[in-house]
Amino acid sequence: MSVVVRAACAVRTRRVPVAAVLGVLGVLVVAAGLAGLVAGRALGAPEVWEVLSGGGDARARHVVLQLRLPRALVAPVAGAALGLAGTVLQSALRNPLAGPEVTGVTPGAVLGAVAATGLGLAGWEHPAAVVAAAAAGGFAGAGLLWLLAGRDQGDPARAAVYGVLASAVLSGLTAVVLLVAPGELGSVVQWLVGSTEGRVWAHWNLLWPWTLVWAVLAWLLAGPLTLLRCGQEQAAAAGLATGRARAAALVCAVALTAGAVPAVGALGFVGLLVPHLAFAVLGAELRTALPGAALLGATVVGWADAVAQWLSRALAALTATDRLVVPAGALTTGCGALLLLVVARRSGGADR
């Protein structure tokens, strides 16, 4: 552990170039994608390689090109979007406990997606409509928090409490929608837990341009966001129109989340904890921390997807049934809860 801390310090004081760190993270993302490609149940690494080099039978080609490849691409990009959204939110709100999951953004986006699907306005065959509904829901969730928190937004602990309240209300509404319109319950539940199962090219085709656009916009906000981390008063005195900068940042964060939720659902803790990793490794300057958060988010979700597939395969072999599938969201939530304990202890110590 101390080695990691020392390495992080070395990066922060620029003794290790940032480019090297980002390069290492990039390699980890690619490795996660490759691991995801070969981790599934039906095919092993040699068959996957055969298909990728142009061979393989029809079934293998279908599995690799139509099922595994889009999944291996969607998982890291959605992770990058969630990592970016969390980093932008924590900086804009100056709250280390902020994240799309706990500010009403993700629950709102899930509610939007579930409601649109439940009402028959959107479905798996119309991913664009789901994204639009998720974005509307995400903005509604953020708006709900805004209304609840009112003038208390400066206090991180109170804002976090209101965020939990808003998230609970939205999750309750989602449950109501599910009870009223249980038609597509099976596919909809994936959004609640967060899963990378069954992603298809339609998801990818929508996800990557949407994420790319908002990621670039988020990076262009790196200067104002870094200033906001210094405190609102300081930022204003240094020449930042803080209200406008915050609003732009929140739009970015909601849009990034709304793009990721229809693709992978509410992957627990990714948006809340990836920023902490990014700041620890790359320092608090957002022009380096944001690319780091994107790559770390991609790494985390990419590996969560690969490990989830491995676990599913192992479980299937153990129990001799095909029905047990470990969702990636269960993994991120489980590991995230542990990491959150570490973060809570550390930030509690630093504040006092």
Binding site: L227, G239, A284
Partner: protein, 288 residues
Amino acid sequence: MTTAETGVRAGGGAATGAVRPGGIRVEGLRFGYPGREVLRGVDLAVAGGELVALVGLNGCGKSTLLRLCAGLLRPAAGRVLLDGAVVAGLSRRATARRIALLHQSAPAVPGMTVRQIVRQGRYAVRGPLGMLRDGEDPVCARAMADAGVAEWADRPVEALSGGERQRVRLAMALAQDTRALLLDEPTTYLDPRHQLEVMATVVRLRAERGLTVVMVLHDIGQAARFADRIVALRDGVVVADGAPEAVVTPGLLADALGVAGRVGRDPEGGWPVCYLDHPLPEGKPIEK
């Protein structure tokens, strides 16, 4: 005393071409929160290159006046002019290129080095896209040297003491490269040695760069010693305005600070020295 300083004192803010840049002019300024009027018509002219100390009791409107000058609050009536431009008509960035404000206190930013914090002061000049570019900035290097923080440039800010952090924030304000600098109680949380260090830095910067400095001070002795002019506020109005030798009197101590006291002269420097005694109006001196 240099000729520049005496010239400034006589100059009082006349808008001629010979006036040095960095002048601040406050005209009929009023500001309040619901149910409480903080400033009730303040007029003040600070010439370019002048060092003015604002004194007064807590809550008399000193900090509010600084914030209004920096354009962080909107006046209910009246206006603030920086080098003749009305602050309310300037963008946030344009204002921050003319005037920098060091707040009384600020949260520490975890994960940032001194160099990174100071660099944030360049936002007003560089803009959001300019902040994305890497590379050494000579203004930052100068600001760090001026504030005496260059040797800690690569240290994380969390690792510094309160006095050191104060100097880092001063460096961040200096990195804005403005002609006017507002300091809100820059010495309040510091021990005497660090207080004098900050004051010496401010006096030196004013002499070398011709900065206009307006600082809120609670220590009337420091105000009398270092400032060209003392402006005293009480209940949102100016009750005294002039050179320390002229305005620091027992009457001012009673009026603006609510304490009785005597005023002497420093045997070597000749500036006014205050011996503060008991609070008014209960009366009796505090016996040992």
